[in-house]
Structure formats: structure tokens, C-alpha cells
Symmetry: C2
Subunit: 250 residues, 2 copies
DNA sequence: GCTTGACGCTGACGCAACGTCAGGCTGTTG
DNA sequence: CAACAGCCTGACGTTGCGTCAGCGTCAAGC
């Protein structure tokens, strides 16, 4: 197999293969008499590993070290790649959750602190700065301003949307007062209405994602406070209803 | 807030912030009389977006274009980032599944074609090459050789492990012949034994992952063939038992 | 009020991982 | 046997910073 074919198969450019040859990361096991690179099955194997490690962010030099380590059998590579991929999956999930949280926070007019937003980028958590920053940005008017700017809807749109969600929230409170269970038909229907409202006005919100938001309503105190201000016990009520609704759809 | 603090908060180096200033991607909104960069809350907002887009693989120039597009409100960015992150999640899941498939294939002595392994790197699928490569590598002895090399266990180890899994497979066949349902206690216990065997001898295999393997046993004909050779109907039987066992553990 | 050590500033060069020609040979298809 | 796709080897360019060098700034302690 020659460069072009390997390149097409692996989804890289010919130039990349040239590069890997030059730096000794992947030398084709043969050449034709005319000097054409000839790749054997074992070379494809190696290329596959190279690309996976590269995708995972390893510099090529380290990739070479990993692959040339004589004490590492193929199974070892698979286990390591599996571990690294799972880590990445977890990190990405966390980032998705963070973005979803921020979307919902914006809709409810809750502001997240900068530390919170950056949290997801690393597990390091620099305590010292956290405190200091908190103090600096606590509740300056700068924040209020940036809050202001972030609303791009026209005032009319916003008022209409706000009225809609106020309405659902009010009816949730009524259902709670009337003693309807959080998993009752009535509560779940309201939850469904809530979900469709979000989807219409803000962002696409499938049931699964809605359930995630529900969990947040009781786990994050600011979201809890938002609902508790309307009626005591409402945060837990809405949270349960939303999750019950998601469950009946699945 | 000055460079050092912002850098620590966001998990980047000071040099990176200098760079972003120089290329105009993120200019701090103020400077002290001494020339120190002063970052305002809005700058942190922007930095956050920059880092997310960068993480997602956009070149900085495009990031700038996205952020400076006057027709894109903040909600638009959140939606786009959400979409991109979900895509990434999906891709990573696919890669995890591919690695798991390869691990299991190795254990059972099934060899995957190079196209299959590279599949996960892109959805492009170059039909022409696929056919050609198939023909070239079909079943040369090169494959057999590379198969040989990949076994790093001592012969003794391998024989012991093989005997163990043969035993479970035989008892699965017995249960099937005796008419025990695939979701019976007997079948699920065998599935659990199967799972623990994999975990002990090859790689850590939690119930969820085991369920994924189960699905593969009926979806991939080569895995199906492996079990059908032992007893007709065994592939479906083991698959169901494995998934039932995973469900009872969850 | 003075030192000192941490922090900040601006060039300037370096580096990884290729992209992108240029100039020339190869090989296969009509 | 011509022509056109594909391969070769330099060689220079690009992105996204890392890493000094050389020099100002500032808060703490003496």
C-alpha cells in the first residue's frame, strides 16, 4: 500500500505521512525500487495507535516513546487508550452540563461567577485566587452592567416570554397548593409545558436534558432560591415533576 | 484584575494572554498608568468563550471572527457550543466503543480489518479504497503473523485463560440446551462469571461495558459466528443473558 | 526611605506539526 | 507514446504559543 492509499484510509494527508517518516515516528517497512513508500499491515496498526494518541493530545515525541517502549504490549495500549478516552468522555460531559447550566441561568436571570464558569477547564482549583476574586467581583455594578448587555431580545419579546414562564410557574405553585403529587398527571403536564416553552424560546431542550435541569433546581442553591421565592417547596416539586415527565417520555 | 490572576483563574499562562492581546483576540479593556493590563468582567466572559472554542479545535482567527460577529448574541454562542460539545461527546463515545470492540476481538482471536479500525476517525468512508484494501489484505499470512505477535502472555497463561472461558461458554451452551431462559438466574449468573473473567484476565469490564459487548455479539457477524460455532442460538442467548445481568446490577 | 523578591512589560528567537509550493521522476491508461 | 495522476525530496511558511533577556513596578519588611 502506498502513501496516497494509506492517507485516504486513515484520513490524514500525504504530507503527514512524510512527516512521520522523517521524524522516525512511522517508517514504512518497505520502499519500491523507485523509492515509493510501501506500508505493511503492521504499519497501519502503528499508524492507528499514533492517531489515537495524537487525538488524545500527546506530542508526537511522547507517542513515539509510548509505542517504542518494549515493555508495553498491545493490550496495554488498548487499556491506556480506553482509560484516556473515558476521561475525555467525562470531561466533555462536564462541559456540556456547564453550558446547559449557563443557558438556564441566563433564562432565569441568575448570574454565575467567573470562577464557576472556568471551573470546568481544570480540576486544579486555585483556592487563593478564588477568595480574592470573589471579593473583587462580589457585587460590583460592573456585573449588573454585563448582565444588562447579555439580553439581545427586544423588550417586547422578553416581556412576552417572561409572562409565559411566570404563568407556568404560577400554575405549578397552584398544583402544589392543591395537593397534586409531583408525579401526578397534572404536574407532569406542566413540566412538559415548561420544557416546550424552553425549547421554543431559548434552546432545544429534549427530555433528557430537561431532567438534568430538574436535578440542578435542587442541587444549586441559587436555582432553588428562585423557586422558593415563589412558593416554599416549589423547587423540589418542580424538580421531581420535571424528572417524572422525562421518565414517562423515555 | 491583572494578567497573573486571570491566567491562574482560567488555567492558561501569562504568555497566552499576551499573545491574545497582540493578535487582537482579547484585549484587556484597560491599562494602569504603568502599562499593566487590566481585565474587566466582560473580558473574562470573552476569554471563557475563546477557551471553549479553542478547546473545540477552532483556529484563533476563526474564534475571533465568531466572537466579533455582530449578528451573534450570547445565546447563539451557547447554543453553538452546546451543539459542538454534543458532537464531540458522540464521537468520543464511538471511539470508546471501538476500543472496547477491539479489546474483545483480541480476546476471542478475531481480527478486524484496517478499514474498520480507522472508521471511527471520520465519517467520510472512501468506498473506492475500502474495496481495494479489502482485496489486498484479505487473508495474507502477514495478518496471521501480526496476529501472532500480539499475544504477550506466556503460553501457559494463555492456555489457562482459554480453558476458563471455554468452560463458561460450555456451561452457557448447557443452560441453553436445558431450556433455561436467557434471563433466568442460571444464565445471568453465568453472565456475571463471564464478566468477572474478563475483568480478571484482560481489562476492567464494568456491567455497563459488558452490556455493550453483549449487543456486539449479535450485531457483528464475526462475534456471532464465534458463538454459533459452539451451539446454534448461543450468540443471541449469551447476548441477552449478559444484558439482563447488567440490568439487574444497575 | 530603602532593599528585595514577586510580578509585569516588550521584543526576539525557538519549536512542533504540519501546509504549501517547486522541480523532477514514475507508472498506467487510452 | 503521450498525458496525467501520483510519488519523491528539499525548502520555506504558518499557527500558537514557550522561553529567555533586559528592564520597570510594587508591596512588604527592616
Amino acid at each position: 500500500m502506498n502513501v496516497g492509499q494509506v492517507a485516504a484510509l486513515a484520513g490524514v494527508t500525504v504530507r503527514t505521512l512524510h512527516h512521520y517518516d522523517r521524524i522516525g515516528l512511522l517508517r514504512p517497512s518497505g520502499r519500491t525500487s523507485a523509492g515509493y513508500r510501501q506500508y505493511a499491515p503492521a504499519d497501519l496498526d502503528r499508524l492507528h495507535r499514533v492517531l489515537l494518541y495524537r487525538e488524545l493530545g500527546f506530542p508526537l515525541e511522547e507517542v513515539a516513546a509510548l509505542l517504542d517502549d518494549p515493555s508495553a504490549d498491545p493490550a496495554e495500549h488498548l487499556r491506556r487508550q480506553h482509560r484516556l478516552l473515558r476521561d475525555r468522555l467525562e470531561r466533555t460531559s462536564a462541559m456540556v452540563a456547564a453550558v446547559e447550566k449557563e443557558m438556564e441561568a441566563r433564562n432565569m436571570g441568575i448570574d454565575l461567577t467567573p470562577e464557576e464558569r472556568f471551573e470546568v477547564f481544570g480540576d486544579w482549583l486555585p483556592e487563593e485566587y478564588a477568595a480574592e476574586a470573589e471579593e473583587k467581583w462580589g457585587d460590583t455594578e460592573a456585573w449588573a452592567q454585563s448582565q444588562q448587555r447579555t439580553r439581545a431580545m427586544t423588550k417586547e419579546d422578553w416581556l412576552r416570554v417572561k409572562a409565559e414562564s411566570d404563568d407556568v410557574e404560577r400554575r405549578f405553585a397552584e398544583a402544589l397548593a392543591a395537593g397534586a403529587g409531583a408525579d401526578s398527571e397534572r404536574a407532569m403536564d406542566l413540566a412538559e409545558e415548561h420544557r416546550q416553552q424552553i425549547s421554543r424560546n431559548f434552546y432545544d431542550c429534549p427530555p433528557e436534558m430537561h431532567a438534568g435541569l430538574g436535578r440542578m433546581y435542587v442541587e444549586d442553591e441559587r436555582f432553588t432560591a428562585y423557586y422558593e421565592r415563589i412558593a416554599p417547596g416549589l423547587a423540589q416539586y418542580v424538580s421531581t415533576a420535571v424528572q417524572a415527565n422525562a421518565a414517562r417520555q423515555g
